[in-house]
Point group: C2
Chain length 289, copies 2
């Protein structure tokens, strides 16, 4: 029996309100998925969404060319090492017109960045009008790794949850649709993916010995994610928990979420800010050789 | 009779040394194209190149993750309005992994940019190690529109050709492969494409009345391009003249040029900078649930 593609996946994946423990979410689940559990189906279904994604992205991009106040979309990708942030960018964002995309990968803060408030480097990478911004990690690292490794005083970490909520509310008010995704993989899947990187010399570059040190702090990270998802799950900028053990589901689901975000803007095409008939005459009058 | 795909298209499209007049190049030509003149063939042939492009780009990206001195590729796209700079980015750069791509579109300089030397804003947008940078317009605008519209004194314009050659030579020395493409369309094709933008309300956003003013200075632009291509066609950073009346040819040809640029680096995969066996053991020792 064939299930129906959901009109909106966002409510299905939305992190429940209140206190959550991310260990309660199933990384193998495929909520909202309309077909049988099949990798090829997943890719086909995602590719079927491409024309819709193209159309919506072009409307957004078009709005940005004419209006400095045009909306923007910001996709925040968070997850442990190997959760699939890079793969999502490659496969999902790779479907988009690169002209309208701004990707930033947040690494360990530089000395200059550490000399500023934690949101300083984030502000500088926000998408501009008409753009889709992608954060590969984000300001949430400042309440995740920084909490786990005690890289900032407890009072400062504590302050940041509220600061993040205020910051995101401001972005929404100024026309940004924020799509926050926690890519949820299991401990076993992470172990498998780390081992894969070590089994193929072409993938050695993706491996860092530090990843194992991080992986060994699994529970501390689950706790830190649980707190972040509990405290920064606002109506303005809700969290989505994306089961990510199955890459084809993850890619399909995030494609859906971006399409829904762009679709929520209900953008038409910008009106001509010139006299169309007069311009046609001017073009007609041009020499053609 | 089926022709053979060229091993290297760069020499075929390379702008001849010495003084050239861009009006001498045929915008309808399809040099090096191995099949019959057919749009579908063009797309198929380009898509056949995707696995090779993927492999080369991942090697470049991988090198960048391990070595701050890793090479980079810079694609410079120049051409008149409607020549297909945006379409090239959408279709050719759209084939690449967006994580390794940095696109910048150079607009009319801002007041801050005008307060600096013309290369200041360009330096800030150069690709980093392992990246493919794309300039949608570039420092060449400073000897094109600025020359045609006399936006800078003649002596300053004159100075810039040498400054560009020095700048590009420095980039090459520090590990950048530069691929400069002049997208060559005919006057008739430009007129047709401008008219098309005015015939479809979904494309109005691509039209600016200023485009007609620029188009009406066709000969002045041809002169300015001829001078730029004659004077800045160095062995370190040669110009390519890409016939661009046929979009499928343009996309195929530029895909080829980027592949050749990345291939010229002959990159292997980065060696592990860790003890692979020891790391395998560490991963094996991780808990899996």
């Amino acid at each position: 029996m064939s299930k129906k593609e959901p009109e909106s996946l966002a409510p299905v994946l939305r992190c429940p309100a209140g206190r959550v423990d991310v260990r309660d979410f199933d990384p193998d689940a495929i909520p909202g998925y309309p077909k049988r559990k099949d990798k090829d189906d997943g890719q086909d279904l995602r590719e079927e969404l491409e024309p819709l994604m193209d159309d919506l992205q072009e409307r957004l991009f078009a709005a940005g060319t004419r209006d400095a106040q045009a909306p923007k979309v910001l996709l925040v990708l968070q997850g442990l090492d190997t959760a699939g942030k890079g793969g999502t960018i490659r496969h999902v964002i790779g479907m988009m017109d690169p002209q309208g995309v701004h990707i930033h990968s947040f690494k360990r803060p530089t000395e200059e960045e550490r000399a500023h408030d934690f949101l300083w480097r984030v502000e500088r990478q926000l998408p501009r009008s008409g753009q889709v911004g992608i954060f590969d990690r984000s300001h949430y690292e400042d309440v995740l790794v920084q909490r786990v490794d005690q890289l900032a005083p407890a009072t400062e970490i504590e302050r940041r949850y509220g600061a993040i909520n205020d910051f995101e509310a401001g972005l929404v008010t100024s026309g940004t649709v924020i799509v926050k995704c926690f890519l949820n993989i299991s401990r076993g899947e992470q172990k498998k993916r780390l081992a894969e990187r070590l089994s193929n010399p072409e993938k050695f570059y993706k491996y860092n010995p530090g990843d194992v040190s991080v992986a060994s702090k699994w529970d501390a990270y689950m706790d830190a994610y649980s707190i972040a998802l509990s405290r920064c799950n606002t109506d303005a900028a809700p969290w989505h928990v994306v089961p990510a053990n199955r890459k084809w589901y993850r890619n399909w689901a995030i494609t859906h979420l971006i399409i829904e975000a762009m679709g929520s803007l209900k953008l038409g095409w910008p009106e001509a800010d010139f006299d169309v008939k007069a311009e046609r005459k001017r073009v007609e009058a041009l020499a053609s050789r």
